[in-house]
């Protein structure tokens, strides 16, 4: 494994460890607060600000997410914020969907060509982030007696989600939601936490706090699968991982603490700001690609 001094990053030694730990701390707070992996923010910052090798960044950030999510998940379990039945069904669906999404990614890339395909994906991702931000700010509609999309979906069999107090949730709909998350994360190459929270909130009908806790579980499982794949390809560096983890595991505790003290509406609004920040990063990437000679 390449030591930190030989990574060709802008910093070396102790300053690099401190910078990675500081970045990890900020990402950890986001993970504990919103149930997102934070790769959408961590990857560009590691590449642009610290100059870490791109191939190592994707695998190492997924590996960091395992530790950060495990720490946050354990805390959210104690705070009764995890709906286990929904978590298991969604995680199963997402694992199958991720494999399908990766296949689709390779198929479309071969059909369209690298540059054109990447741009199409970025435009779709940008549109999806903007819609997500709008849906999260709007919140669950009261028009249908407070019933979620999956409770209104006329596709049996139906199940109960006891910890969330939800009855008559469509099981095929829940599986399809997991598969959809998996396909999108496999296709775009993100963990999927950013899209998971609004779907858990609006489609499944969980509260904002339960959406964060349950989302963390799905994100952690997805990260384990992703890390194994990237580890086999030699894209994980344990030195980068441990430096980021020092900060992120402390940050996730702070994030979970703040999450429990925030009102659900305020939590949704802050999440929308994070989604818009991700949209700005994607828009900047699009501009860079379009204007590149």
């Amino acid at each position: 494994m390449t030591p930190l001094d030989q990574l060709d990053a802008y910093l070396t030694g102790v300053p690099l460890v401190c910078a990675l730990a500081g970045l990890g701390l900020a990402i950890g707070v986001l993970t504990g607060l919103f149930g997102v992996g934070g790769a959408f923010l961590m990857n560009p910052l590691l590449i642009i600000v610290l100059g870490v090798n791109q191939s190592l960044v994707v695998g190492s950030s997924l590996c960091v997410t395992i530790g950060t999510a495990a720490s946050g998940l354990s805390r959210h379990v104690r705070m009764n914020n995890v709906e286990f039945r929904a978590f298991l069904i969604l995680a199963g669906g997402a694992s199958c969907g991720a494999a399908l999404g990766s296949w689709l990614h390779e198929f479309l890339r071969a059909a369209q060509g690298e540059g054109s395909f990447r741009l199409t994906i970025l435009w779709s991702y940008l549109a999806m982030l903007l819609i997500t931000a709008w849906l999260v700010v709007r919140g669950p509609s009261e028009r249908h007696g407070g019933r979620s999309w999956l409770q209104r979906l006329p596709v049996p069999p139906r199940i109960q989600l006891p910890r969330a107090g939800l009855h008559g949730v469509s099981l095929p709909g829940l599986v399809a939601t997991g598969v959809l998350i998996g396909i999108i994360s496999g296709l775009i190459g993100i963990g999927g936490g950013v899209l998971l929270m609004p779907l858990l909130l609006l489609a499944v009908g969980l509260t904002a706090h339960q959406a964060v806790g349950t989302g963390l579980g799905v994100v952690m499982l997805g990260s384990v699968v992703g890390t194994i794949g990237h580890g086999l390809a030699g894209n994980v560096n344990l030195w980068i991982v441990m430096s980021l983890l020092i900060g992120s595991t402390l940050g996730v505790q702070a994030g979970a603490w703040i999450c429990q003290r925030l009102h659900a509406r305020r939590l949704r609004q802050y999440f929308a700001v994070i989604v818009l920040l991700a949209a700005v990063l994607v828009a900047a990437d699009i501009v860079k690609r379009v204007t590149a000679p």
């Binding site: 999510a69 720490s71 354990s74 805390r75 194994i228 086999l232 991982v241």
Partner: protein, 46 residues
């Protein structure tokens, strides 16, 4: 074999670290809470 050990380390090391930090924080929280309730009980006795 070495590759399998590496992959196991990539999954288990962050997992163990994350759970360890959470355990340490939980111990700290419980101790702080116990100290607070002890001092409140002392005030009532006084």
């Amino acid at each position: 074999m070495t590759k399998a050990l590496h992959i196991a380390a990539f999954v288990l090391v962050p997992l163990a670290w994350g759970l360890l930090v959470d355990y340490a924080f939980e111990r700290l929280r419980r101790r702080t809470r116990r100290k607070a309730s002890d001092s409140a009980a002392d005030e009532v006795i006084e």
